[in-house]
C-alpha cells in the first residue's frame, strides 16, 4: 500500500512542481493570457464556463460511448465469426491487420457527408474506429488458445457453443479489454474530429470556435477537459474490466 502511494506520489509531486513553476513565471513576467494563461487562469476559465463545458463534454462523451459500445459488440461478434470459419479468417484478416496501419479516421469525412451533422454520424465514426482493434484482438485471443485445452473440453462432450462460451471467450477477455481501452481513446478522437465538420455541440466545437476567436484561455480549458474526459473514459473501461474479468490480476 505504501509502495503504491510512493509510486503515485513522486510523479504527482513532479507535475505539481511544474505547475507551480508555470504559475510563478506567468505571474512574475506578466505574460498575457492570450500568449500563455497560468494554470489558475485556466481553472478559472473552466469554472466560469462550467455549464457550457459540461454540456459539450456530455455530447462528445455520449457520441464516444455509444460508438465504443457498438464497436465493441460488432468487433467481438466479427472476431468470433472469423475464428469459427477458417475461410472468412483467411479472406478478411489481412484487411483487419492493414486497417491498423492506415488513417481510417479519414473515412469519417465521408460518414459525415452521408449521415449529417448530428450525434449519430460521430457515433458511427467511433463505432468503426473501435471496431478494428476489438475484432483483431478477439480473433488473435481465440486463435492463441491451446488446441489441447479445446481437445480436453471436447473429450468431455462439449459442443462448439459450449467451448466458445466456457473457454474461448473467457480466456480472450483480457485481450478484448486491451483493445477496448485502445478503442476508448480512438472513439473520443473520432468524436472530436467528427465535430470539426460543422457540428454545433461538443468538445470539438469548443476547440474549433476558440481557435477561430483566438481565445487562448478557452482553448487551454478545452484541452484540459479533453484530457480529463479521455482519462475518465479510460478509467470507466478499467473499472468494467475489474468487474467482468475480476479473476485476472490487474497490471
Amino acid at each position: 500500500m505504501m509502495d503504491r502511494l510512493a509510486r503515485v506520489a513522486a510523479p504527482a509531486a513532479t507535475v505539481l512542481v511544474f505547475l507551480l513553476l508555470w504559475q510563478g513565471s506567468v505571474d512574475a513576467f506578466h505574460v498575457s493570457p492570450d500568449k500563455l494563461p497560468a494554470p489558475a487562469a485556466i481553472l478559472a476559465t473552466i469554472w466560469h464556463g462550467r455549464i457550457a463545458f459540461a454540456s459539450a463534454i456530455g455530447t462528445t462523451l455520449a457520441e464516444a460511448l455509444i460508438g465504443l459500445a457498438g464497436g465493441t459488440l460488432i468487433g467481438i461478434a466479427s472476431g468470433v465469426l472469423l475464428s469459427q470459419v477458417r475461410l472468412l479468417e483467411r479472406m478478411f484478416l489481412p484487411y483487419l491487420v492493414a486497417s491498423q496501419a492506415v488513417p481510417i479516421i479519414a473515412f469519417g469525412a465521408i460518414i459525415i457527408m452521408w449521415f449529417g451533422n448530428g450525434i449519430s454520424s460521430k457515433a458511427i465514426i467511433a463505432v468503426y474506429l473501435s471496431f478494428f482493434p476489438v475484432a483483431v484482438n478477439t480473433l488473435a485471443g481465440i486463435s492463441a488458445i491451446e488446441p489441447s485445452e479445446i481437445g480436453l473440453l471436447r473429450s468431455f462432450g462439449a459442443g462448439r457453443l459450449a467451448i466458445l462460451f466456457k473457454l474461448q471467450l473467457p480466456a480472450t477477455l483480457p485481450a478484448i479489454f486491451t483493445a477496448i481501452r485502445l478503442g476508448a481513446s480512438l472513439a473520443l478522437v473520432g468524436a472530436i474530429v467528427g465535430e470539426w465538420f460543422g457540428a454545433t455541440q461538443g468538445l470539438g466545437v469548443v476547440l474549433l470556435t476558440a481557435m477561430f476567436d483566438y481565445r487562448v484561455p478557452q482553448l487551454w480549458a478545452a484541452i484540459v477537459l479533453t484530457g480529463a474526459t479521455g482519462t475518465a473514459l479510460y478509467g470507466l473501461v478499467v473499472l468494467l474490466q475489474r468487474r467482468i474479468a475480476w479473476w485476472q490480476a490487474e497490471a
Binding site: P11, V15, A101, A109, F197
Partner: protein, 250 residues
C-alpha cells in the same frame, strides 16, 4: 510445395474478398442507381484521380513530407531522450511524469493551439507529430532498455565493462526489437496526425483536400483524397516494416 505455390494459397482468399467487395460495391451503385454524391464507383474514383494526377500527388507529397519530417525528428528525439533517461535516471524520473501528462490528452486537441501560434502551414503539424512520435518511441525504447537481464549486466561488469560498453554492447542491442515496435506504431500515428490536423486548418495536403471537398459536397474528390491517404500510409508502413526486419534480423 514451392514458394510461389505457398504464396498463391495464402493470397487467394484476401484477393477473393477484395474482388467480392469491389463487385458488390459496383453492383450496388448500378442496381440502386446511386448517384456519385451517395457512393461513387471505385472505377469513377480512380478515373477522377487520374484526370488530375498532379493535384492528388501534390497533396499526398505535402502530407507525407509533414508526417515523415515529424516522424524522423520525433524518432531521433525519442531515442536520444531514452538513452539520456537510462544513463541519468533522476532526469528520467523528473521528466517522464510531465511527458506522460502532456500525452494523456489526445494530441489532436492541441491542434488549434498549434495553428494559432505556428500558423496553418506545415510547422503546426510537424511540431505535434514530433511530440507524439517521440513519446511513443521514448516509452518503447525505455521499456526495451530496462528489460535486459540484471545477471548479464553484472556478468559484463565483472569483466570490467564500463557503463558505456554495457549500453552499446548489451542494452541497445537488446532494446532493438522494442524500439522497432515503437517505430512501427509511431509511423501510423504520424500519418494519422498529419491528415487529421490538416482537416483542422491548412493550405495543402490530403486532410485539407478531404475537408474542402466535404464542405463543397464534392464526394468523388473526397474519396480520391481518402484513398490516397490509405495508399500512402500502406506504402510508408511497409517500408518501415521492411527496414525493421532488415535491421533486427535476430
Amino acid at each position: 510445395m514451392s514458394r510461389s505455390a505457398r504464396m498463391a494459397v495464402r493470397l487467394w482468399p484476401p484477393a477473393l474478398a477484395a474482388l467480392l467487395v469491389l463487385a458488390a460495391w459496383e453492383l450496388a451503385v448500378w442496381w440502386f442507381q446511386l448517384p456519385d454524391f451517395v457512393l461513387p464507383t471505385p472505377q469513377n474514383i480512380v478515373l477522377t484521380a487520374l484526370q488530375d494526377p498532379r493535384h492528388v500527388l501534390d497533396d499526398t507529397l505535402t502530407t507525407v513530407a509533414e508526417a515523415m519530417g515529424g516522424y524522423l525528428a520525433g524518432s531521433l528525439l525519442g531515442l536520444a531522450l531514452a538513452i539520456v533517461f537510462v544513463v541519468v535516471p533522476w532526469l528520467g524520473r523528473a521528466a517522464m511524469p510531465l511527458y506522460v501528462t502532456i500525452n494523456s490528452v489526445p494530441m489532436i486537441a492541441y491542434g488549434p493551439l498549434a495553428i494559432i501560434f505556428l500558423g496553418v502551414g506545415s510547422a503546426s503539424k510537424v511540431v505535434l507529430i514530433v511530440v507524439a512520435v517521440s513519446y511513443t518511441v521514448l516509452t518503447n525504447a525505455l521499456a526495451g532498455l530496462r528489460q535486459c537481464d540484471a545477471g548479464m549486466i553484472s556478468l559484463l561488469r565483472s569483466y570490467g565493462a564500463s557503463d558505456v560498453t554495457i549500453l552499446t554492447k548489451l542494452r541497445i542491442p537488446a532494446a532493438v526489437p522494442a524500439i522497432f515496435a515503437g517505430l512501427r506504431v509511431a509511423v501510423v500515428h504520424a500519418m494519422i496526425l498529419a491528415v487529421v490536423l490538416e482537416m483542422l486548418g491548412a493550405n495543402a495536403g490530403l486532410g485539407w483536400s478531404i475537408f474542402r471537398s466535404t464542405q463543397m459536397m464534392d464526394f468523388v474528390q473526397a474519396w480520391v483524397a481518402v484513398g490516397a491517404s490509405v495508399v500512402a500510409s500502406l506504402v510508408i508502413y511497409s517500408a518501415i516494416d521492411w527496414i525493421s526486419r532488415r535491421c533486427a534480423w535476430w
